[in-house]
Amino acid sequence: MKKTNIPLILGGIILLLILFIMIFPDMFTDNSPYTIQIVRFIHEDSKLFVERSPFNPGSDFVLGSDDLGRDILSYIIYGTRLTITLGLLIAIGQFLIAIPLALLGGFGNRLAKSVIQQFNIIFSAIPALLISIILLKLDFIADLDKQSSIIAFVLILTAVSWPKLGSLIMERVEAIIAQPFIKGEVAIGKRRTKIALENVVPHLAPELIILFFMEIARNLSMIMQLGIFAVFVGNLGIVDDKGSGFYINTDISFEPEWASMLSTSRTLISTAPWAVIFPALAFFISVLGFNLFGEGLRNIIQKPDSRMPLVFRKLISLDFSYLWRMIGKKEKIKYSVGTVTLIGLFLIFSIVNKEEYTISLAADSIDLPNRVIIGTEEADETIQQITDKMVQLGIEPLEEEGYALSYDIGPSYMLKDQDFSISLEDGPMDLIPNQDFAFVTSGDINNTGMIHDATEIDMFSIDDYSKFKDKFILIDKDYYNDQSIDYFIKEINKNERVKGVLLIARKSERINSIIIDESEMMSVIMVSREVSDLLKTNMDSTISISSSVMPLESTGYNLVGIQKGTDENIGDEAIVIGMNYNYTEDGGNDVLEFNLELMEQLCQQQGNKRSIIFMFLDGTIDEKRHGVHYITQDFPYSPNKVEGYIDLSGLVERNFDYIQFSAAQAPITRPFAWSLGHHIEQEFTKNNLEIREIQTRHIGNEYYFTDSQADNAMFWEKGIPTIIINTLESGEETRSIEEVGSILLEVINKNNY
């Protein structure tokens, strides 16, 4: 009679559950593991209680929260992936070392044998746990970032735990070799390597598979013990927002993983036992799962009449047709049904998983102009459309003057025409605007003259500008910062006989201008490196430039509205989303439409406990007139009520290739924004959106922020933690901002409960 294999079924169920949790963690909890909530408010008998974390298990936190107010359940669920992966990686490492050495040793290789024995002696004298604690506590390792610390962790734990496995396998190999049939194979004239592969390994394999599961279980309990001694993976480098942006390391892990939970909460055992008991339980259940499964497998594949070794021999010799013939019809049906159910389950899960948050743009729902520039009529028209939308969605203005907050951009001009030509020996050559050159300041100007190459001289050392008389000065921007260049231009401007300044663009700088400052006499023109090389080799040629401009209204408008939060306690706290509405080319209206759609969907989401402030920023195509500079000067909301700012003004095209992302301005000391940023980054990675770092300048430990002043404004001027998301393209344009939108909807919703 067939006995039901209870360990296998139980273990299988646990492992399957673990697998699903690892792949679809968000199916099992709605909470974000990164969310930190240190206080919460409770109303009881019309009295308000303020409670500090850790919180009891209850309706807010099913399994309670830890000291930082992080949800234990979601932390466990999201931690499954890293924790189990660690156990698995260590087991793989152990087997990779142990199997070859054990085989060699079993076949009588002295070196392999003594390596296994010596390592065993070492680790039986000093417990492996102790060694790993000592090694992993080294400052050098404790300071590593997440990726490297995982590698270090796996390597060290593999190194201390493989010898035991090695000698176990070696014993098994020796036992197999001692069997008479191996002698029979030698007598028949079979090679040793073939005997190892065709006779020894197949007989060993069932044992190895069972051992593999057992080893994972053993590794998990080792990881758990290390956690109790405060050794775990995933220390994070964190930017300090109080000082000048130093990198600091913390002892608390912010990466969901079970051992770190034990470590962080072990002091809470008497006050908040749930914070320790549940992660420990997670360990116990998975250790049990792996052990049961291994035990259950033993019941099937180590029965005396089991044909497992044969199956392995055929697998090793890649003889699949034999295996196919060997499996009976009934089993074939059984296995296919099993596989199909499993695949079906996965499909169902992934479909259900995808449904919730999607943003998609209709082909042509709103009629938007195809060019919007600050101070133009089209801008006025667009402002009207955006405000209409805000009214329609019930978004309220923040200031008395309405949604549109005006700011003065000073006299500004739009270029109508720009020309630049060089007279070379074989005739004049016309350069292409916004590629070879771009005017920075100009007016209705027409000028011709020679060039003076100032790239080889130190501009600071010049006090007599007369040698530049009637010439265009060529300056390399690479050698000076923006302030210095402004200073030179001012100085040069005092000398009226200079025709103009040619600035050689920095390597990654875009050569593009739409809006310019006025200048009656002298033009400042940015030129590409290629143009500058051409000019340098033709120093005696003359260049002629001309431009005509159109004056713009000197007012910009930032459109700001708020959707009030529903929660009576945290409703005042706000998430700010910054978007652009200026664009110069076709396709920019797609982005604007996307922004409007995102606003609409965010407003319609359930459970927006915090307020959401929508800011449509004017002038985003021009660093100098960028609305963010003006809105930070006169911020319409209390900055310390702002939990985070999501800067989407860098979404400039509907289709793109890479995301430029930075949450470095959302440090851990601002937990809400930090959690938001971390969550967004995770989702990007999960959706295979390639992330490119934003160029920042570091000097030593100090941390200067990005080249763009606009990116830094909110954080450095108002102390509002900022998450920056830009799109970049490399020509293929395979990704769409709709994907970014879906992720934002999900993350904001999950963090705003």
């Binding site: 069997q179 008479p180 049939f181 002698k183 029979g184 194979e185 030698v186 007598a187 028949i188 004239g189 079979k190 090679r191 040793r192 006779n199 197949p202 007989h203 005396p304 009449d305 044909r307 070794p309 044969l310 021999r313």
Partner: protein, 263 residues
């Protein structure tokens, strides 16, 4: 007479140490063994348990390393051949082991077990493998229905036939039989012994035939060597030794068998 196997002054001693405190003990499993087996001849090796018979069988096939002496097969000295070179000679000299049920890999079918020696030594072409397996099965009196079975599904006698089949598959001229029937039922013993005699005639084989059973030896052998404590105490033609034993030990051995018979 052509000498197929020649063993000269062959010795094997084991050094055993029971505990750290006891002295080293040298066990002479085989001591100065010298004999010769000619073409189509059977040399019987008889002696009590532990007298060193299996040791000699293993030495002759270089399955264990000799401490001393010299082994020649077909006039070629194989005493110091490296394992790689030795492998080429393994097709000429085969062995049938004492235990039938553990000498075959339990995870290989009869088909694979018989093809293995054919493939290793390239005895027949790839396309003729199946035909050859059928022929071998026939030669050892097995039906082709056994071809897809595993050793565990066969009787001891059938397993021993497969081991014999493997031995003759390589076209070996000399087969060392280490107590080939002692683990089998009496009824099956006769069948296997007769098969060995039949094959000897058909294939012109020579045997080094090991047994502690005088009846079996008498049935099989042309010449007999009697072993005691790792040494050959008496050697000669089968009839001479059985009818006119010289050594005390041989006499006792023959008497004890006669005792059993009369009882």
């Amino acid at each position: 007479m052509n000498s197929i196997l020649k063993v000269d002054n062959l010795s094997k001693h084991y050094i055993s140490k029971k505990s750290i405190f006891s002295k080293k003990q040298v066990v002479d499993a085989a001591k100065n063994i010298t004999f010769e087996v000619g073409e189509n001849q059977t040399l019987g090796l008889i002696g009590e348990s532990g007298s060193g018979k299996s040791t000699i069988a293993n030495l002759v096939l270089r399955l264990i390393e000799p401490s001393n002496g010299r082994i020649e097969i077909f006039g070629k000295d194989i005493t110091n051949l490296k394992e790689d070179e030795m492998r080429k000679h393994r097709k000429d000299i085969q062995i049938i082991f004492q235990y039938t049920n553990s000498v075959l890999d339990p995870q290989m079918t009869v088909d694979e077990l018989l093809k293995e020696p054919l493939k290793i030594h390239n005895i027949v072409k790839e396309s003729e493998l199946d035909e050859e397996v059928e022929r071998l099965l026939q030669m050892v009196n097995l039906s082709s229905s056994e071809r897809w079975k595993f050793p565990g599904q066969l009787s001891g006698g059938q397993n021993q036939r497969i081991i014999i089949g493997r031995a003759i598959a390589t076209r070996a001229k000399l087969i060392v039989c280490d107590e080939p029937v002692s683990a089998l039922d009496a009824s099956v013993q006769g069948q296997v012994l007769n098969l060995l005699i039949k094959l000897k005639e058909e294939l012109n084989l020579s045997y080094l035939f090991i047994s502690h059973d005088l009846k079996v030896i008498r049935h099989m052998c042309d010449r007999i060597a009697v072993m005691k404590n790792g040494e050959i105490v008496e050697m000669g033609d089968a009839d001479a030794i059985l009818n006119n034993p010289q050594h005390e030990y041989t006499k006792k051995l023959i008497e004890s068998i006669l005792d059993i018979n009369t009882n």
